[in-house]
Structure formats: C-alpha cells, structure tokens
C-alpha cells in the first residue's frame, strides 16, 4: 500500500502542488497580517516567544523587576507571569496605522481593588501622561446597591436607598450633604463655600516645586491675582515652555504660554529667575483650577497670590534639595512643611541626598531606596468616619508632613496646603475613588465606561478600548505605549497573575476604491 502511494504518479502532482502552495499561502498570510485587508489584526502576547527572546507585536512586560518570568500552574499547565510591583509597561507595534486598539487582559486578582490600563499620549520627555481606562474596580463589582443606568451618556449610578428615579434626577438635585463616590467619570458640580469671604494680605509660597502641578483656589468678589517665579535648569533635551491654564467648572478661563529660555540641549545652564503676574477680574464665584503644564526642567521658585485658599492636588514635587544647589545657588534647603487631607501617602526620591526620614503626624516614613515610592498609611485609612466615631476615635482632618531635605515627590489622593489656613477641599462631598482613597461612608456611587470583568474559575477577563489619536503614536509613529496600573499592589500580599494579553487593532477594511484613489494620487 505504502509502496503504491510512493510510486503513484498522481501523488507526485499533489505533492508538488503542496510544495508551491505552502510557501505561497504562508506569504499570503504574512501579507494579510501586515496589511490587515479585513480591517482587523488580532495578536496575542506569547510566553513562548518571550522565553526565546523573539520579537513580537506585543512587547515583553517591563520592567523585569516588577514582573516575574513566565511560570506554569502545576495542575493545569496554564502559563502566567506574576505581577509584583506597579506600574508595568508594554508596547504594541502596529505594522500599519490603525484607528482603534482593544486590549483584552486575562488575569487572576485576589485582593487588589483597582486595576487600570493607560495609553501614553504626548511626548514622554515632557510629561508622563496617559489616557486611562478602568479594568477592574472591586468596590463597584462587590456593591449590592440598586443600579440606575443612563444609556445616552453611559453613566451608571448606584444608590443604597432609592432616593433618585433616574441618573438625570440625581444630576438635577445633587445633595450637598451626602458623599458621592465617582469613578472614571468627569463629575465636578459647582462648589460654593457659603462662609467664604476674601481676606486682606497675600499668601506667599517659597517652597521650590519641580514640574507639572495642579492647584485649586477659591474666588468670590475678588480678582484672581497670581504672581510666580520660575527657572529652567536645562537638564533634559527639548524646549521647556511654561504654560498655565485657569479652569472654572471644566471651562478654560485663561491660558498663558511663556517661551523657553532658548536652551534646548541638556546644557545644565540655569536660566535667570523669570516672573509673571497673572491677573483676571470679574470672575464668578467658585473653585478655580490652575494648571502649570511644565516639564521637569522647570522649577517654580515661588508663588505669591492674593487668594487665601490655595491647595495643590495629588502630586507635589518639593525640589529644594542638595542635588540642585549647584545649579541654583540661592536654593533654600530648609525643611518644608505641608498640610494634607490624605490618609495614604507615597514618597520617593531619585537622589542620594534626598534619602531621609519624613515625619507625618509624628510617624516616620523612611526613604532609603532610590526611585522606589515608600508608602505611609494612616491608622485611620481603613476605618470609615462612622466606624471611627462609633469607636470613640477622632479621624484627623489634616495631616502635617515635614520633609527635612526636600527633593521628594509626594503622591496621594488629596490636597496639600502650604499653611494650615490656606487649606480647603475643592471637591467637598465628591470623593474620587482611587486606591489611595481611604474608607469612606459613601451614599452614592457614580461611574461610567466600566464593565465588570468576566469570571471563569479564578481567571478574570476584561477589555479596554482606545481610539488612537496622533498624540498616542510613539517611537516612529507606529508604537503604542501601554501602562498597567494597580496602585498599592506592593501593600497587598497577593500578586496579580497575568495569563494573556490580546490586542485587537482595527481600521477600515481594504477596498478597491481606496486602491484606485491611491494610484490616482501618484
């Protein structure tokens, strides 16, 4: 039988056809992967390719110290990587330009409350900014409250008691005395401080701050008057213009752009102190946001304002450290004291001279490793106000943070004031849900564009979609940089196990009319 097959001449024709067809088909498949004639390219992160150091469309998960090498489950043989510290990054190389990227992640997460995926936008040398999409929020997933859904705006609303009949009903009557948790939704109802009155005198902040900062102030029957001084230390490549935006109720009130000092190379030459006075009259009462869009080369040396309520949001980079003294000789290295409402704080330094012990309400936060954020948790972090009151404990409203040597970045979900009197909470009863949000007695929960992950055994699968814009394109215009973030991962015992990353890239499918247009243009 075998002899017959081997000597049958008809079989040779088939074999020869196969010899030609296989390479042709494989090459056709490669062409389709490159051009994606159907408009879709689906690609998986491969552990096997990773182990043999082969390039793939989805890059290795980086940095290596934060995520383990591929491991295999002994029972099922399922391969995964252990995500230990956050954030981690991966790149997606697009063979062609695509319009939409959908990332699907299969993972196991026993205890981390929040996971999100971000797509980098803009030049990373200027700022590390990402468009974030939530992947998992255990507070929402575990909620037993009744749900209202506004389909037109894709906004969901959870309430314990049925106080509102629709999401719109809630928007029309936002209660000021109830706490509203918000997640992944831009919800900034106008805040009015009934007891506010302008005060004479000026608030002077002499703490040197480095890079982008966001401040909040309150204005009523007074002019906005902000005088600030800055210097450019020219340590990095590129121009360092200073851009200041004033926002009110999510509307741009004023935008000021000030040119770079002309040094675009990392010369280390420090510019002379430059000042600018920003004044705006006849502003309606309310909270105003002042955003300094500046690179890390720009140091804000001082802020002098007529506003007496003035706080910085979330991130504060206290820069008056020994490392910069050579470039800015008149830098005052005295300790800095700030006052914050945060009950969880992270601090990090990147210079030996910034290693120190930070005092937070009498507790020590020791910085002994460069570039690794160290966390401080208030004993009240996991205790809600009502639970603290029931136990006869008083949860402090303000925490005093003393930073002896500066050169420290502080990260929190909260606000920092430079004097106790200038502190105010510009959000009032609106609580942004982040991993750094302490336990809070919420009355309502508002969220959008979030679908809880699907569950299969211990594995969860969730997706996030991004419309790709020009500012998302990195490194030659074909690469997307993604960030996977699970803040506080270092504070929980369990690692997150990543089993699969699948990226679906979409664009308009191939059409002959497009081809005709292409040749017509030649």
């Amino acid at each position: 039988m075998i002899k017959q097959i081997l000597t049958s001449f008809a079989w040779f024709r088939v074999l020869r056809a196969v010899c030609i067809l296989v390479p042709v088909l494989v090459f056709g498949w490669l062409l389709n992967q490159y051009f994606a004639f159907g408009g879709r390219l689906v690609t998986h992160y491969s552990f096997a390719k990773d182990l043999r150091d082969q390039e793939q469309i989805i890059s290795d998960l980086q940095p290596a110290g934060r995520v383990s090498s591929p491991e295999a489950d002994l029972d099922s043989g399922v391969q995964y990587r252990r995500w230990r510290l956050e954030p981690i990054y991966f790149d997606v190389f697009m063979p062609r330009l695509y319009e939409k990227a959908t990332v699907s992640l299969t993972y196991s997460n026993p205890s981390q409350k929040f996971i999100s995926l971000g797509l980098r936008k803009g030049n990373p040398e200027i700022a590390n900014t990402f468009d974030f999409q939530p992947l998992e929020n255990k507070i929402i997933d575990h909620s037993k409250w009744s749900l209202l859904y506004d389909q037109a705006n894709d906004i969901s609303f959870l309430q314990e008691d049925n106080d509102f009949k629709s999401v719109q009903d809630f928007f029309n009557n936002v209660p000021r005395d109830k706490k509203v948790g918000v997640f992944n939704v831009n919800f900034h109802p106008p805040i009015i401080l009934p007891d506010y009155a302008p005060q004479p005198g000026r608030l002077v902040i002499n703490s040197t701050l480095r890079g982008r900062h966001v401040f909040y102030t309150y204005i009523k029957d007074e002019d906005l008057d902000l005088h600030f001084t800055w210097q450019d230390i020219n340590r990095g490549f590129g121009a360092d213009p200073v851009n200041v935006e004033i926002m009110h109720n999510d509307q741009l009130v004023k935008n000021v752009s000030l040119a770079d000092d002309g040094q675009v190379t990392p010369s280390g030459l420090t510019s002379q102190p430059t000042d600018f006075r920003l004044q705006e009259a006849d502003l309606p009462e309310g909270v105003y946001t002042i955003i300094f869009n500046i690179t890390d080369d720009v140091f804000i040396r001082s802020i002098d304002t007529a506003q007496h309520l003035f706080v910085a949001e979330n991130t504060l980079f206290l820069a008056a450290g020994e490392d910069y003294k050579q470039q800015i000789p008149d830098l005052d290295l005295a300790q800095t004291q700030v006052f914050s409402d945060a009950l969880r704080l992270r601090a990090q330094t990147t210079h030996d001279t910034g290693l120190q012990v930070i005092d937070i309400n009498g507790q020590s936060l020791i910085l002994q490793t460069l570039g690794a954020p160290q966390a401080w948790n208030s004993p009240f972090f996991d205790i809600t106000e009502s639970a603290a009151a029931a136990a006869g404990l008083a949860r402090p409203d303000i925490t005093t943070i003393t930073v002896p040597k500066n050169d420290v970045q502080l990260f929190a979900n909260g606000f920092y004031a430079f004097t106790p009197d200038s502190y105010f909470n510009p959000r009032r009863n609106i609580v942004e849900l982040t991993p750094d949000t302490p336990a809070v007695d919420l009355d309502y929960l508002l969220f959008s564009h979030y679908t809880p992950p699907g569950k299969r055994g211990k594995w969860l699968t969730t997706t996030a979609s991004f419309d790709i814009r020009a500012d998302h394109l990195q490194e030659g215009g074909r690469t997307l940089n993604f960030i996977l973030s699970a803040p506080g991962l270092d504070l929980v015992d369990d690692d997150i196990l990543i089993r699969d990353v699948t990226v679906t890239l979409e664009k308009k499918p191939f059409s002959f009319s497009k081809l005709k247009d292409f040749f017509a243009r030649l």
């Binding site: 081997l6 000597t7 001449f9 040779f12 074999l15 020869r16 010899c19 030609i20 296989v22 390479p23 494989v26 090459f27 490669l30 992967q33 490159y34 043999r52 082969q54 390039e55 793939q56 469309i57 190389f93 063979p95």
Partner: protein, 76 residues
C-alpha cells in the same frame, strides 16, 4: 532497477528539488521583506526556522541526486 522504480525515483528527485527551490525562494522573499519591513516575518516566526527547512530540503535533494553527481564526477 525496474522502469517503474526508476520513474518513481526521478519523480521523487523532481519533487524534492522543487520543494528545495520553493523554500529557497520563500526564504529570500522573507529575507528581503524583513529588511524593508522589520517584523514582517520575525514577529510571527524566526527567519532561521525557514533556513532550517531549506537546509533539510537541500540535504534530501543532495541525497537523491547523489548517484547523478557521482556519475558526473566519474566522467569528469
């Protein structure tokens, strides 16, 4: 050797030679594509895998043509 066996051997020689030539062409096309479009092939499989297939077919082709080669060497 019978005529049928001889004919079958010739068919095998032709088929393996065709496979060798086809993989060489495929390898060269992949190599050039990879030069112009980095990742065109290497994102999906390493190019040296194709080279190994070429080597295997080259060896088979050599073995099947060994008699022909030997005869020519004798004449030479």
């Amino acid at each position: 050797m019978t005529t049928t066996r001889l004919s079958a051997k010739i068919e095998w020689q032709k088929t393996v030679h065709l496979a060798f030539v086809a993989t060489v062409i495929f390898y060269l096309v992949c190599l050039v594509s990879e030069q112009f479009i980095p990742g065109f092939v290497s994102f999906y499989f390493p190019l040296h895998w194709v080279l190994w297939v070429v080597v295997i077919f080259a060896l088979l082709d050599g073995i099947l043509h060994w008699g022909v080669f030997k005869n020519r060497m004798k004449k030479f």
